[in-house]
Amino acid sequence: MAPTHSDPRATGRAAGDPPASHADDRATGRPPASHAGDGTADRTAERPPGVANPARVAYSGATGAGASQVAAVLEREGRSNGGPALRVALVEAVDAWLAELLGDAGPGIALVATGAYGRREPAPCSDLDLMLLHTHDAEEIAPLAERLWRPIWDAGVRLDHSVRTVDEAIAVAATDLKTALGLLDARHVAGDAALVTSLRERALERWRATARERLQQLRAACKRRAERHGELAFLLEPDLKEARGGLRDGHAVRAISATWVAAGLDRRGQAAYGLLLDTRQALHLELLEQGGGQVGRARAAVDRLSLQEQDAVAARLGEPGAEPLMRGVHEAGRTLARALDQSWRRVDARHAGPAVRRWRRPVRRQLAGGVVAYDGEVLLAAGADLAARPWLALEVAAEAAGAGMPLAPQTLRRLEARPPHLPEPWPPRAREALVALLGAGASAIGVIEALDQAGVMDALLPEWGRVRCKPQRNPFHRWTVDRHLVETAVHAADLVRGVSRPDLLLLAALLHDLGKGWPGDHSVTGARLAATVGSRFGLPAADRSVLAELVRNHLLLADTATRRDLDDPATVRAVARAVGDPGTLALLHALTEADARATGPAAWTPWKARLVEELVRRVTERIEGRPAPAGEEAPGVAVSPGTAELVGRQGLALQVDGEQVTVVARDRRGLLWRVAGVLALHRLDVRAATATTAEGMAVITLSADPRHGRDPEWRLVTDDLRRAFQDRLPLERRLAEREAAYRQPAPLRPPPRVLFDDRASDLATVVEVRCADGPAILYRITRALDASGARVLSARIATYGAEVVDAFYVLGPDGRRLDGPPQRAALVTEVIGALR
């Protein structure tokens, strides 16, 4: 019902003015009495004088009493609220008006409403979708159609009209999805009711008969719409109709249920849908009032609830403010998106019949112990014991995100039925999996959202509920707090190569704004929360305090860089005082960038990046000018008494204690890569390693994790180690074969980096390799180091989720530190090449 005033004739006319153009139309010449009814006079009398509703102007022109009544409805209901009463009254009034326009057309002619009006859900600015249904010749019907549409145009209403026979309507619907969906909502307004009934029956029958194909089209349309308009649940200025989780998704649920495959909206879904209808209605009324009867924005944007209208819309709906309104809207969006997902799952279950059956069976591929990829989804193996191994919930999620696949519905149902209860502190595997999930990049978003819907996020992080769907009301932010946190982690995943502790960066990204769920300064509250959550995650005390420090200072760099004089030594001093060491500063730098990028397009510009970079550079210089902190020079590792005994035997020995594997062997060049290669061959993922020497023997201590949960035959491992040391094992070839069997398309990860740290050791050059985890990664790096001529004195291997940060203390072939640029360049080339 749209007073858009594209036609100047329709504007500015008062109710009593004579119609300007179609004065002699038969339609307008009709006496208004029959349709205006008794109620009209009463309602008109109720209206206080002098309150002009702009909407009235549109309807009060050429079209007689029917239009006046529509205007009166808008004026009366529009002033008060945006509830369902307005829709009911509006439909009644428009129906009456249209019946008046059609008059007594005789059998074989009917006026049909489709779209929002057909559903009895018109909004004040929505289009009027009408079809003149008939059984006559086209020429015969044309004059009637013209007589019908003209007054509607003249009233300034946006009319979407068609003139069709039942056959024509069905034929158009067969090729056009929008028309087919519209027919599902077809409603008799005036004229031959039996004709409309037959149209409805045939349209529904066709819809069901072609459901498989039509639903595929609908799904594609929903997907395109979601991509273009984003998600209602998270956007701060969402489109109430088009966004994922918006009104159109409600229509899609109904269209699916019309095929009898799935049920329609449940009570919660209905409530969510109703809330969006009310909100849209209030938005339209507000836009009309602000624009003096015109909508001061593009038609396409009329359902976008932007920040500037949120307060007024909240007031119209009787909400105490914009925040509760938006929280309700976000939650409704989430409910509808979920209802649609569930409907699609029912469709899949129902339609997974012969037509979808593949010509070859889907491949079942084991990703990790208890986690399987099957048919494009990742699921928990049937035998996986969630109660005994609650971290599997996170591992399955991490594997799904890492592989860029969704979690299987049956796995989500399992998780929902029994949310994981992790012991406190978390076992390291749980933390590792969470970090791997967060580090997976953009594919983590869908997985985390699915976990949240299944109630897993609440089980893992009870604080999450405080920020879920929480709007952030300022023009910089694009997302609700919960989604902003996830987005920050996604951006942080691109920046992991810039830091030596990717895990702390990713966890800080997830937690940095958690404090917004509580009153007070969110950085201060957040730091406290981060420390608590960090201890629940089982982080050591030192890491917890870095995490808390990152959260407390997450705005420090951005604020200082833009608001303080970088040339003033006091500025640099203050930041250096707040952030004590270069590692934390690098983490904070990455967090600052990820946070800003996840805020919105305006928050991180090259300009700001440059300022922050300059600040970080100056602070780093200042910090690094200080003496290096003590305790860095400790490449050696104390040899435990048990190991000392092995060393004393002066031969190859292997000791296994849980995940800890100790290899003792006569020291020689290339020892480390041979050990790493053999372990990889036996499907052991090395997560941490240290290498040192004692009494001419090399002692390599590794934390190795059987990839599929089954321990290897240690006797065979020892045999292979011996053969590898004697160069009787074709490691390279065997590993290549193994990798080919497991090769999976790696999602886009930042490229590897190789850094040199000259401050860490006086004796050796420290080479830090940062890259994504993968099979035999340690083997590849150490073999490349050997190939470049570098000799590894000792190593610290660390895996943080899916990121590897390995430090090697190396000497050049001449037994000296690796200082020459050509030597270093050769080493970098060799290592980067091996990681490709």
């Binding site: 860089a561 833009t562 608001r563 303080r564 004089d565 970088l566 040339d567 510009t605 090259p606 300009w607 700001k608 440059r610 300022l611 970079e613 300059e614 550079r617 780093t620 850094l755 040199f756």
Partner: protein
């Protein structure tokens, strides 16, 4: 009427805004800018990687004022933006032919 454009250090924006309010300026446009003057670009070594700083981040402020206010505004601006260090920026003024307030259609000094 004059268009006064100032390039200042980013952290000076608040000071400049306050100073201009005091002399009666009611509106301004602020944008992020990058460039170099005599301060120049320079080469830095940061975390082992050498990179060239071609442009220095600055803020650009634009103010439309009536002719008689121009000198006062420039003086206030310069005073507020000065740190005495290199890279404090520049201020310049240009004559303006016409100004229209979009909402009302007012023209000339009325539109300021």
């Amino acid at each position: 009427m004059k268009l006064i454009t100032a390039i200042v250090k980013p952290f000076k924006v608040e000071d400049v805004k306050e100073a201009l309010k005091d002399v009666g300026v009611v509106g301004m446009t602020v944008s992020e800018a990058q460039g170099f003057g005599r301060q120049g670009g320079h080469t830095e070594v940061y975390r082992g990687a050498e990179y060239t700083v071609d442009f220095v981040p600055k803020v650009r402020i634009e103010i439309l004022v009536e002719d008689e206010l121009a000198q006062e505004v420039i003086e206030a601006l310069v005073k507020a933006a000065r740190t005495g260090q290199i890279g404090d920026g520049k201020v310049w003024a240009m004559p303006v032919e016409d100004v229209v307030r979009v909402r009302t259609g007012e023209r000339g000094p009325d539109a300021l």
